[in-house]
Amino acid sequence: PGQFVNVLPKIGFSDPMLRRPFSIYNAIGDEIEIIIQRHGRGTDILADAKVGDVIDVLGPLGSPWQFDSQDYETALLLIGGVGVASMPLLTKHLQASGTAFLSYYGARTANMFADEYLTNVVYATDDGSKGYKGTIIDKLRNDLKDGALKAPKLFVCGPTPMMKAAIAVSEEFGIPCEVSLETEMACGIGICQGCPVPTTEAEAAISGKKFYLVCTQGPSFTKESIVL
């Protein structure tokens, strides 16, 4: 859970040249599923691939969510848009280990949820067409205020502004928080140094590193370790 694969849009051509990273959405035996949001030419090529097309995939890559940390009892999976991609495997794992969890999933409107592999989901939509009307962050803050969630930890994946808001909420309530980042990547395995995220001063003092690599040390990081 939380790992990704690096996928080559087209084999044998140099435009586009680099692989594209995608979270592992689901894995059964040797097979993996990914979900792709069209973003540019690479995702277009992959989204247009047909059944039977051979696709060159490197992975699994990256480090998993730190779901084994001892600092929480209830996992809160905070999801914005395509950030959902890393959550089904985390859900599976939490279920298997008997950890309490809830998913907070926000989207613009009801038909934008990809929740086939999720359970215990709290929804929010901008237009109120499903669940809470408003941002999922607001819904989460309300629930945290209610105090019903026992020793929660946030696992966040979504757009950067949402992740920043999630960190603010976690500080407000003094709860642990982990965010999964997206940066440009070339290699995905730590050899190009192309995917740095700056560390906090405190973290740098401990690790001696001014940057972590998102591809190998991430993609998920505790809010204390990096600067978003």
Partner: protein, 319 residues
């Protein structure tokens, strides 16, 4: 992964034997460990390690990479572990492999180059066969470009380093000069064993929506297939104007690409950006090369080096 064919891929440069002519380029393979899960390191002709400087360098702020048509721009900023960690951890790790290791050095003064080299020399492992001197990294504000654009500085630097080692001394040239010929000549005269070229080409990309440069350093280095024709031309220029052995680098994505460099006169090549697409790329090209040489009915790899036939084309022109 053994070369089952009878074709001899080995090549000797400056007295050092390489089992095949495919090395991996500095900065595109880390220090070996990162890629070891994806690459048969023992199959490589050699590894040129990430540029190392006296002190560790954190590298540049993001954004560091941008994909471009058939290429990419980078401004990593010579992020590296520093020479002390390099000799304590990286070299011993690499010593476990059956391949040649070349330590690439970057620095901002001749003294620093010398210090780094001396420190490595004093701690050299058995397969550490030589040094590649990065005089050309265009990413670092306080060094790099300066050395590589002045033949006098390259001359001085090469002479200073030559005194300090009997291992391979390779000067890695920048393409961002009017001609590489004067640099090839001074390297030859100053006693370098080889030149390697090319390093990246200065390039830039702008985010049209924000109006900002995409790289945090404004400009960066262009690599990949886009620059291959430039790299081949630079090797040709060096070959025409000097006799110093050449290591070809730039946009190699197949044995066919590598052959262009070999035919022009390179004895070795380095695979760079392609490692990001496939960390085992150089081994694949090595296998492909065997097939190509068999087709050409050549018994050993070195027979194709420098076989460029320009007479027939230029004769047609009546020169």
């Amino acid at each position: 992964m053994e070369n089952k064919s009878h074709i001899d891929l080995s090549v000797t440069l400056g007295g050092v034997r390489f089992k095949n002519p495919f090395l991996v380029a500095s900065g595109t393979f880390g220090y070996g460990a990162e890629a070891s899960a994806y690459c048969d390191i023992n199959g490589l002709g050699g590894i040129v390690t990430k540029s190392v400087s006296w002190k560790p360098r954190p590298g540049n702020y993001p954004r560091r990479i941008v994909e471009t048509p058939s290429g990419m721009l980078n401004s990593i900023g010579l992020a590296n572990v520093g020479v002390h960690n390099f000799v304590e951890e990286k070299l011993p790790y690499l010593a476990e492999f059956d391949t040649n290791i070349i330590a690439n050095i970057a620095a901002s003064s001749i003294e620093e180059y010398c210090d780094v080299l001396k420190h490595i020399e004093a701690n050299a492992t058995k397969n550490m066969v030589g040094y590649e001197i990065n005089v050309s990294c265009p990413n670092v504000k306080d060094g790099g470009l300066m050395f590589g654009t002045s033949p006098d500085l390259v001359d001085e630097l090469t002479r200073a380093l030559r005194k300090l080692t009997e291992k391979l001394l390779i000067i890695k040239l920048t393409p961002n000069v009017t001609s590489v010929a004067p640099f090839a000549k001074v390297c030859e005269a100053a006693g370098a064993d080889a030149i390697s070229l090319i390093n990246t080409v200065v390039g830039m990309s702008v985010d049209v929506f924000t109006g900002k440069p995409r790289l945090s350093t404004v400009t960066g280095g262009l690599s990949g297939p886009a620059i291959r024709p430039v790299a081949v031309a630079k090797c040709y220029d060096a070959r025409k104007n000097s006799k110093i052995p050449i290591i070809g680098i730039g946009g190699i994505t197949s044995a066919m690409d590598a052959m262009e460099f070999f035919i022009v006169g390179a004895q070795l090549v380095q695979v760079g950006t392609s490692n990001f697409v496939d960390p085992n790329a150089a081994n694949h090209y090595k296998d492909e090369l065997v097939g190509l040489l068999e087709k050409k009915k050549v018994a050993k790899f070195t027979d194709v080096v420098g076989t460029l036939n320009i007479e027939e084309v230029t004769k047609a022109l009546g020169w």
